[in-house]
Symmetry: C2
Subunit: 109 residues, 2 copies
């Protein structure tokens, strides 16, 4: 089976994470599980990719972080989307629609 290479989905990791954070604050491990589930197991984000995306997006103020705890008391870092992140997400959605149309012109029938 053909797999999804990182070069192809590159540029959409941030969008996928923001999509999930729009549903409420979350943390690394949960996000990675959700990406796997929602993609039907077709895409599994690498941990390093995920955490470096968090750092990058926080420095761009697309998300903010705060410390929390799981039910059992384990520490977690939660992330929440900002207004700027919302705006950025919508721009990526618009861009996706453009990009999709362009790429499809180069996909043979």
């Amino acid at each position: 089976m053909t797999n999804i290479s990182s070069d192809v989905i590159r540029g959409y990791n941030d969008t996928m994470i923001l999509y999930l954070l729009r549903q409420g604050p979350s943390y690394g491990y949960e996000i990675s599980k959700k990406i796997k589930e929602l993609s039907g197991g077709k895409y599994i984000i690498k941990e390093t990719t995920l955490y470096s995306a968090f750092t990058r997006m926080e420095s761009k103020e697309l998300i903010t972080s705060y410390s929390g705890e799981s039910e059992s008391g384990k520490k977690r870092t939660y992330y929440r989307i900002t207004d700027q992140g919302e705006t950025y997400y919508r721009e990526r959605v618009d861009e996706w629609n453009l990009t999709k149309d362009v790429i499809e012109k180069f996909i043979a029938v």
Copy 2:
């Protein structure tokens, strides 16, 4: 207007070039014009990106090159797709269909 960023189309430059080479041998300048035309001006590949893609694909044996001349006698390097390039192109098409489905799950309605 939202523009297409390179990070988003990244990973599809090779596919676009191969799509055009499937229609017959071509060269840098022509390929870049055709990408611009086919995309309706929405995507303009940078020269350096294009020529480095040629080098990369030739080393991977997805394409081969030969010297030719324009009507006016100017030298040109033509590129032709190989059988391996054909196979690679079809794999990218399959991958695109998968990727498209995955990304759309993260695009809010």
